[in-house]
């Protein structure tokens, strides 16, 4: 796993992330790069939405609970036309709508996140509502593996299992790193898949950079008709550029230099 070569679209989206960084010179880079294929596949091939009417009642709900991965979400939402390109160049600026964590003022963003462990409980509320209304839309919540240190994730998992929320899918960006270091050292999650199963989820593991595998997994939910689904996506933190891959210095970086920007563009192109 994680040996995937990237196709032109994945490279294009990463270039957009670097261009956004170029404008502001800061951001959670590694956490966004592991997410690109997950978000790309969801918005290209899986989610139902209407760019002209972001609050369309029948849309699928997608929450980026690991809000610090927002650069990946922003470039995809912009690519789809939720907001103008100029907003990318104002990332984290006072005059822009795109902050270091996503907020609901951004068209296409369902919930303001950033503090970890909030998206899944909110997603449970969405899914309970959809079930009550007998609505057909689905709920996807993207969480990080480090985020799964939070007790609220497991409170919500218990609740989702209890209510058999088959309309809810948790997508886990399992890049194996958190801010301080490897997840296995900071707070070991293993046996990770077994934990989700024990909480009442149907679980599938995929290569989180394999676009076809992701598409197959996401379009195949629910895996079981009376259970919520957890898709564990094995990813590589900083995926797509040799200097960022597995390099904790790029988890969050500020004051990014001209030379580093040039290097990122070159590495992305050569990947």
């Amino acid at each position: 796993m994680n040996t995937q070569k990237l196709d032109q679209r994945s490279k294009y989206l990463r270039r957009r992330i670097i261009e956004t960084l170029d404008a502001t010179r800061r951001g959670h880079v590694g956490a966004a790069l592991s997410l690109v294929e997950i978000i790309r596949v969801l918005y290209d091939d899986v989610l139902h939405y209407d760019v002209r009417n972001p609050k369309w009642s029948e849309r699928d709900r997608c929450i980026l609970s690991k809000g610090h991965g927002c650069l990946a979400l922003y470039v995809v939402l912009q690519d789809k036309g939720f907001f103008p390109e100029e907003e990318l160049w104002k990332f984290c600026e006072a005059s822009g709508i795109l902050g270091g964590h996503p907020e609901v003022k951004v068209p296409g963003v369902e919930a303001s996140t950033g503090s970890l462990g909030h998206g899944l409980p909110i997603g449970v509320g969405f899914a309970v509502n959809a079930k009550y209304e007998q609505a057909g839309h689905r709920v996807f919540v993207i969480v990080g593996d480090g985020e799964c240190n939070e007790g609220s994730i497991w409170e919500a998992a218990l609740c989702a299992g209890k209510h058999k929320l088959s309309n809810l899918t948790v997508v886990i960006d399992h890049n194996k790193y958190q801010s301080y270091g490897p997840t296995r050292d900071v707070q070991n999650l293993e046996p990770f898949a077994d934990k989700w199963k024990a909480f009442g989820f149907a679980v599938k593991e995929v290569d989180g950079h394999d676009v076809d595998a992701l598409r197959g997994a996401f379009t195949g939910v629910p895996l079981e008709s009376d259970k919520p689904t957890a898709i564990i996506c094995h990813t590589l933190k900083g995926k797509g550029m040799s200097s960022t891959e597995g390099n904790m210095k790029w988890h969050h970086k500020s004051g990014i230099k001209d030379e580093e920007i040039r290097q990122l563009f070159a590495e992305s192109e050569a990947y």
Binding site: E110, I122, G123, V124, G125, N129, C159
Partner: protein, 322 residues
């Protein structure tokens, strides 16, 4: 008061399909009628407050109005960040019903005593904070909660508290009510301390002193205009609350007095829980007595300030001796 509060939740839910009830692990039989009549909107989600708040947020984002109920400390302390981010930041129509606000759970000790709930909830942008005085005011407040925009924290007192409010004064969120007029002093109350304020005012009346009582059931948003007008008329102001002195009603009024720059001096005292955890059990009443949150202490505080303010001439010797 709690029974009235939950009865109104059911009453509202019967009329309005947007209403959901979410409890944690409440006493067996709580809102049994709701569960039987409207099971699809009744949720008992276990001892998991963070999830409960997030779930309520998700429902509210979809246009529902969840009423979330558990013990006040768990609804404020335990999931404070969820309340701030999920409810406050998103300005969602979730109603938080906190059982046992103040010292109600005195026999259970400090983990269950909500002594700072008002202070921390009022610090959250977009949050409305209400502390009704009795079951009747609770009913009026709850009926108004339906169409209010944004989250509300409603502090529930013990239950069986004497009815001290009247239907003559229509409850309105964000309004303070001058229930007794008077120019000698002003007592400001919230929640069940209204009863003490009224009793103290009555005692002064017997001595020929006119002590006004301003009831502030909505701590946030605050009825600043009414409060300033009431304070402007008197030299002496005393607040009384079943809450820590750090950041509750007394602090709110102190902030107003400090910035109002009244032309005449105001003699001011706060009565409430000092900056300590209770070191003893007992009853709500015995802890209130221990902390000096009583009508008698209120009378003493007002009397002392009246003396300081130079109104000794209006006081009888006996009161001064106290």
């Amino acid at each position: 008061m709690r029974k009235m509060c939950l009865d109104v939740v059911l009453e509202l839910a019967r009329q309005d399909k947007r209403i959901f009830f979410i409890g944690s692990d409440l006493g067996i039989g709580t809102l049994q009628k709701f569960k039987e009549e409207i099971p699809e909107r009744f949720f008992m989600e276990g001892i998991s407050e963070a999830n409960m708040i997030g779930m309520a947020a998700g429902l509210a984002m979809e246009g529902k109005i969840p009423y979330v109920n558990t013990i006040a400390t768990f609804l404020t302390r335990r999931c404070f960040e969820q309340v701030v981010v999920d409810l406050g930041l998103h300005k969602l129509n979730v109603r938080l019903l906190g059982n046992g606000g103040g010292l109600v759970y005195a026999p259970l000790g400090p983990t269950h005593e909500a002594i700072e709930d008002i202070a921390i909830m009022r610090s959250i942008p977009n949050m409305t904070v209400i502390a009704p005085a009795d079951a009747e005011e609770m009913r009026r407040a709850m009926l108004q909660s339906l169409d209010h925009q944004g989250p509300i924290y409603i502090r529930i007192a013990k239950g069986g508290d004497p009815i001290v409010t009247s239907n003559d004064i229509p409850f309105e969120i964000g309004k303070a009510f001058l229930l007794r007029l008077g120019s000698d002093a002003l007592i400001i109350t919230t929640g069940i301390t209204l009863g003490m304020g009224l009793e103290a005012s009555e005692r002064f009346k017997e001595q020929g002193l006119q002590v006004a009582v301003l009831h502030v059931p909505t701590i946030k948003p605050l009825d600043v205009e009414t409060i300033i007008a009431a304070i402007a008329r008197v030299p002496v102001v005393v607040t009384i609350e079943e809450h820590t002195l750090n950041g509750g009603l007394g602090s709110v009024i102190a902030e107003i007095i400090a910035e109002a720059n009244f032309s005449s001096r105001k003699y001011f005292k706060r009565i409430g829980i000092p900056d300590v955890f209770a070191d003893r059990y007992g009853s709500q009443a015995s802890l209130m007595e221990f902390f000096g949150i009583t009508a008698s202490k209120l009378v003493a505080a007002v009397t002392k300030l009246l003396a300081s303010s130079g109104r000794k001439d209006k006081l009888c010797e006996e009161e001064l001796a106290n």
